[in-house]
Symmetry: C2
Subunit: 196 residues, 2 copies
DNA sequence: TTTTTTAATGAACGAACATTCATTTATATT
DNA sequence: AATATAAATGAATGTTCGTTCATTAAAAAA
């Protein structure tokens, strides 16, 4: 018997993220990926059923990593504004420090694979977020609104700010730098919108 | 001499949007596209230099159409809240009524083609929006903030709401329907965040 | 040490890819 | 009606695609 080489699998997973972020899904071919990861094309099929399964598995892994970073030091019984702040800053920092992972996730989210990814993904995380939100509404720390409206107002602006930041890093002119001050300002405005 | 058939070109452009929305960029092959549009693959190359040029041209066309819809009945000298409302509702309705166009635009925005698309695109629209924002700040109808923060807080939530809506239309369970009331509620919250 | 098991591979598969080209078709101009 | 011009095409180009397979290498179990 011979054991699987976890380093090989990890190399493949990392290159999936890197190549997808750089060249998009059509740029990600199994041959290129194998060459980048330093393995044979056939090796990829030891670890993944096929290309789609590979993308979905990597998506799940990166999502979980991002969720984990999001709830670092978060406690569902925190006051609403404080709990939101912790998650907000955690997630923003994760994306700022992992631009390729963010690019990969966002490309996934906007591709037709998204539906299949959603089906198997993140139900636990979403449930606990819904609980946090409903609890905050009950305590009158958060205005009454559907979960989707809450999420859109709370987090979509942060995603957009990080995207501006990432774009600015590539094009030289009129660069937008996302400082801690700007993050704080945006967060305060979001809280202003959401609290009674 | 023989004239170009505008209907052929338009059929190609429409199918680019449709196929990209349905199957993503890797699903969009020139052969499939030709078959869907009812032309020969070679015909596409009469109207477009190559695949990338085609995608960029369609992106420009759809963007312009969306910008035009956004500023319908908008006047830059409107009071800030009213001007924002007009643009906000216009754009939301455009996306709700043109889900494939939105999917196409968002896929473009998150692909590596985005940089090339930005270079040639929409500078005039952005300039007039910046003017509107700075004018509002001068009049103290809008709090002082960088343009990117304004845009993120004002429009990113609406994009996210429309995406929830579009997802909900495909998966049967726990469907989220974006009603006019919910749109209005979100818009009021955004205005609450942005006004002094 | 030998056997057994599975990881790992390079070469090979047919299919599908973007693009080109020789030819035909349509139509504006003469 | 004849000519000229460019649109339109199906077939063919060579390449690259995702995936498989016969074979070899490694290491755990005997």
């Amino acid at each position: 018997m011979r054991n699987r080489d976890d380093q090989k699998e990890q190399a493949i997973r990392e290159k999936v993220i890197e190549l997808t972020a750089q060249e998009g899904f059509d740029g990600l071919s199994m041959h290129k990926l194998a060459r980048a990861a330093g393995v044979s094309p056939a090796t990829i099929y030891i670890y993944f059923k096929d290309r789609e399964d590979m993308l979905l598995q990597v998506f799940t892994e990166v999502s979980d990593q991002m969720y984990k970073a999001t709830i670092e030091s978060f406690d569902p019984d925190m006051p609403f504004a404080e709990g939101l702040r912790v998650q907000w800053i955690n997630r923003a920092h994760y994306f700022i420090n992992h631009p390729m992972e963010m690019q990969f996730l966002e490309q996934m989210r906007h591709s037709p694979l998204n539906e299949k990814a959603m089906a198997q993904n993140a139900s636990m995380f979403k449930e606990s977020m819904q609980k946090f939100v409903h609890q905050a509404i009950d305590r009158k720390e958060l205005i009454q609104l559907p979960f989707e409206v809450y999420w859109s107002i709370a987090f979509a602006p942060m995603y957009q700010l990080v995207k501006y930041h990432a774009q600015g890093n590539s094009s030289a002119s009129e660069r937008f730098e996302l400082t801690e001050n700007i993050l704080e300002q945006a967060l305060r405005l979001v809280i202003k919108a959401l609290t009674p």
